[in-house]
């Protein structure tokens, strides 16, 4: 069973002049399989399934590259302050299940009315925002608490 990283991810890496190495493939695959935020340590473990000898340092460096390209995003919700999740290019938000950590990505948020109100009140010129949403995914709702 050879899972390959999504073409767009590999392509984007290559577009920016980065090499698509065995170690980077392992990190990307691990993130895609997890479909939830992973701590650096967990990601390291998960990546070892694809490249047994990958070093922790390489996980740090790969995340740095991916985050720089906007392909990965640090997720700060709850107590796991240094987790990372894949994200689509463009503006999206993460909805995170607080029980199983599963993540759904939402795009096309329309906060403009809210942000205009904030501009009116504070006088700030708003340039960006960061929103994370916590809840229970359908499965965990059924599973009870």
């Amino acid at each position: 069973m050879a899972i390959l990283p999504s073409q767009s991810l590999a392509a984007r890496l290559h577009q920016h002049g980065f090499k698509l190495t065995r170690a980077r493939r392992a990190v990307i695959l691990a993130l895609e399989e997890a479909a939830r935020p992973l701590s650096i340590a967990d990601l390291h473990t998960a990546a070892q399934a694809h490249a047994a000898d990958i070093g922790l340092v390489t996980v740090y460096r790969t995340l740095e590259v991916l985050a720089g390209l906007g392909l990965v995003r640090p997720v700060h919700l709850l107590d796991n302050c240094h987790a990372y999740a894949l994200c689509s290019p463009g503006h999206t938000h993460h909805v995170i299940c607080q029980r199983c950590n599963r993540v759904v990505e939402i795009e096309g948020c329309d906060l403009s009315a809210y942000l205009e109100e904030i501009t009116a009140i504070t006088g700030y010129h708003i340039t960006g925002h960061w929103l994370e949403i916590a809840g229970l995914c359908p499965e965990c709702q059924r599973a009870g608490d």
Copy 2:
């Protein structure tokens, strides 16, 4: 929605049965004076203006107490992941100036329509959200970029 006035954290601490020590007073004063998120190290330095021999460990412990009471909140600005800022009890958001780091606190956000939309799309039962807004404060707009 309103801008909240700063409050006397010392009084609130005491209300919850914690001792109001010299070290804690120093940390609280430093946070009130800064009016922006401070890293632990910066907070330690700032607190030393009020209690010259305060230890870094005590800063950690004081933040733990204050965060537990919801009087202080970790702020995860992109490059300063472990900063802390005062916050009022209840549900508020921070608007952060990306040039000078000044923070304005906003309460009474109305994202309910947006959150209902997300519930409809994802099936998640939304329990909470966490929003940070970045921009330029009025002064920094005037100062140019």
